[in-house]
């Protein structure tokens, strides 16, 4: 009997919270109707395995929205950014997306590879422009992903840029030796073929490859056989935690090589995790690091009130700037819809996101935002800018 009441009370509590949630939703809709504004959805990992980088990225996107709104919005319209957490889970990403699609949202700031890929077809069907922080090369081919955009060079291009830079600065007469360490995971595998092809083309000798899991706590098993082959360069294709493990173990067993990673493989956190073991490692990035001497940094410093942020924050900011520019171009031509933003973005030529990232251009047949990559080297525990390496926009690299 008592239990019965308890259960009934629980049911009432759940129902009332549900009702509350439902009311909350309604209120928001009223507001949206009242003021003239553009609603943009956010499907970003705020919890789950990738949240350590997802949160700063989302903060950057939010800062971008605040910045654009402070400038008077886009074509007189304020941006209403509705940020939701997908917890790196496809099903949750899918339900959030369905909610957005029903609200007739025109654009989404997305995030991880799994959710972005799972929504690729739906976004194309519903004509919603989808920006992601998953830089898989196949998302740049409008034939498979017509409504997908991002603002950084893709993973394959990032790696190619590093290889080109290393080759240009190679002084010895022998071939440089390259080894690859990457997780057996879609994210880790996606640039591997491109790296192998380009390395062969540039005259690298591939001396070894091994899998290091994203959640690895030890990499000596993979590094010991590599040590004997004496690679000059080692690609770490995981995320920051696995890179930290590799670098620390490499130092422990005395493996000396130049390590390089993509955008998610090293950031400000790597220095905290790996200490001096990460000294000399290269990090390929697509946005300035906090405090770097570029025109837009003043705005970032103001927005963050001088509280240092990760480079992912800056990239999130840039992603929003580019999306905003797309909306502005679309508004200049007519009504703002997902399709008109897409069409407008495809006319974008050399848009400069305040120097915070390489210039962005899109073509109707080619959604590669840029072929330029920022190379950073960790010197004295700081990401230090080395150079901007720009590749040719080769047609055969599109989507690969």
């Amino acid at each position: 009997m008592k239990k019965m009441f308890r259960f009934a009370a629980m049911a009432v509590a759940i129902m009332s919270t549900l009702a509350l949630v439902a009311c909350g939703g309604e209120k928001k809709d009223d507001k949206a109707a009242a003021a003239k504004e553009i609603k943009i959805g956010g499907i970003i990992d705020l919890s789950g395995p990738t949240s350590s980088v997802g949160v700063p990225y989302s903060e950057g996107v939010k800062a971008g929205v605040a910045y654009l709104n402070a400038q008077g919005g886009i074509a007189g319209m304020k941006i209403n950014f509705d940020l939701q957490d997908d917890a790196y889970n496809v099903q949750q990403g899918l339900t959030i997306y369905k909610k957005f699609a029903q609200d007739k949202i025109v654009a989404i700031q997305g995030y991880g590879t799994n959710v972005t890929e799972a929504l690729m077809r739906s976004a194309a069907k519903d004509e919603i422009t989808y920006f992601s922080a998953s830089y898989s090369a196949h998302l740049t081919d409008p034939k498979t992903a017509p409504f997908n955009f991002f603002t950084s060079a893709d993973y394959s291009t990032q790696a190619r840029a590093a290889l080109k830079y290393f080759k240009e600065n190679w002084k010895e007469s022998r071939k440089p030796k390259l080894a690859l360490l990457f997780p057996d995971h879609p994210y880790g595998i996606s640039p591997i073929q491109a790296i192998k092809d380009f390395a062969a083309e540039q005259g690298f000798e591939l001396v070894g490859e091994a899998n290091v899991d994203l959640k690895a706590i030890d990499a000596t098993t993979q590094l010991l056989p590599l040590k004997e082959k004496k690679p000059d360069f080692i690609w770490c294709g995981g995320t920051t935690p696995s890179t930290a493990v590799i670098l620390k173990d490499a130092k422990k067993i005395g493996l000396k090589a130049t390590f390089f990673t993509n955008i998610w493989g090293s950031d400000e956190n790597l220095i905290k995790m790996a200490g001096d073991a990460c000294e000399g490692a290269y990090s390929l990035q697509a946005a300035a690091v906090y405090g770097q001497d570029v025109p837009g940094m003043k705005t970032i410093l103001e927005l963050t009130k001088n509280q240092p942020q990760m480079t992912h924050y800056v990239r999130g900011f840039v992603s929003m700037l580019v999306m905003g520019e797309g909306i502005r171009l679309a508004a200049a031509k007519g009504p703002v819809t997902g399709a008109s933003i897409k069409a407008a973005l495809e006319t974008m030529k050399d848009f400069d996101p305040m120097g915070l990232a390489p210039k962005v251009s899109f073509l109707p047949t080619d959604h590669r935002p840029s072929m330029a990559v920022f190379l950073y080297k960790i010197v004295d525990g700081k990401l230090t800018f080395v150079t901007q390496e720009t590749l040719d926009r080769k047609a055969e690299w599109l989507g690969k």
Binding site: G24, V55, K98, P186
Partner: protein
């Protein structure tokens, strides 16, 4: 008010009936009718939730047949779903009609399930769990590396289902397709449980030695349970593929297998109604938590980050609370509620 103070059966046939009273039939009929009408009333977000629930129901009831009814634990259910998804997607891509492709997906998954079910003859309990976990890991590897079939790390694009020229390309249409297949699966499992074969499954679960002495061929029936369960899982996978329109290896990871296990534990092991309740609960819980954390962060914006982190903890906490306070699942709670109201107001 005219009625009996209980259900009294005069034949075994009546006792084994799926619907035992007219009242039950009426209620269920009204419920199904309400569900069938709901896509015209609800907006597409809620319909999409119903769609996800339908897919989860098929997956959950199939695992319940294996784990709840036959007593064979499986940590590879998510991977079997994946086998069905990839097989059905490949079939439709090669021009096989949707329903045939769905069946093909089911058979492919059944085959995989039976292969990985072979160790069940020798292994029980935690050992079988590890063996099926191995199936999960092996199949995940296959999904990622068999590029010609699965698209490897690039994934596989799938088209919306199309039956005789009718495209199921929006939520409402999808709902009717998914709902009817989910209803068919529930009917199928309910009926399997009523047959001699179903009773053989139960006898294996309750005590394998007695079952064998009573003449149940353990190996054949365990394999049959794996096959049948994986078949339905494959169908669920095929539907998932054609609903989300994109497949990647990450979708069928160990997390999916665990979430199906959680569904049947929360819902009630060995109960068809329980599978449905568990599927509904597990699909809606993240949404409710999402809504709650959204509502809280509207009021207290400063703590929204902590709320997000907390949400994962709450999810785990809910599971633990269920195991402690509702060890027999939601289905049992539902039975108790019904019993309470049946005798109202003269409950003891």
């Amino acid at each position: 008010m005219r009625g009996k103070c209980g259900l009294f059966f005069e034949s075994y046939r009546a006792e084994a009936a799926v619907f035992q009273s007219g009242f039950q039939k009426t209620c269920l009929g009204l419920f199904v009718a309400a569900l069938l009408l709901s896509p015209w009333v609800l907006d597409s977000y809620f319909v999409s939730m119903l769609n996800l629930i339908c897919i989860a129901v098929i997956g959950a009831v199939s695992l319940n047949l294996l784990t709840g009814v036959c007593g064979q634990i499986s940590l590879g259910h998510g991977a079997f779903l994946g086998v069905g998804a990839y097989a059905a997607a490949q079939a439709t891509m090669h021009g096989v009609p949707f329903l045939a492709a769905l069946l093909l997906g089911g058979f492919a998954a059944a085959l995989a399930g039976m292969v990985f079910g072979v160790p069940s003859l020798r292994l029980k309990g935690i050992y079988l769990a590890i063996a099926t976990l191995a199936a999960q890991l092996i199949l995940e590897y296959v999904f990622l590396h068999w590029e010609s079939a699965t698209g490897g790390s690039r994934g596989l694009s799938v088209d919306a289902p199309n039956i005789l020229g009718f495209a199921f390309n929006n939520e409402r249409r999808m709902f009717y397709l998914l709902f009817s297949i989910a209803a068919l699966s529930l009917l199928m499992v309910t009926n399997v449980m009523r047959t001699r074969h179903g009773r053989a499954f139960v006898s294996i679960r309750d005590f394998y030695l007695s079952a064998e002495i009573a003449g149940v061929n353990l190996f054949a029936y365990k394999l049959a349970a794996f096959g049948l369960s994986s078949f339905l899982a494959g169908v669920a996978g095929g539907l998932w593929a054609h609903y989300t329109l994109f497949l990647s290896a990450e979708q069928f990871n160990i997390g999916l297998s665990i979430s199906y296990l959680a569904m049947i534990i929360i819902g009630g092991l060995g109960s068809v109604t329980g599978s449905v309740m568990g599927a509904v609960f597990m699909t809606l819980l993240p949404e409710v938590l999402n809504g709650l954390s959204g509502a809280i962060s509207d009021v207290l914006p400063n703590i929204s980050q902590h709320i997000n982190a907390l949400r994962e903890g709450v999810f785990g906490l809910v599971l633990i609370l269920f195991l402690i306070f509702e060890p027999e699942g939601l289905a049992n709670r539902w039975r108790l509620i019904k019993a309470y109201w049946k005798l109202y107001p003269f409950a003891h």
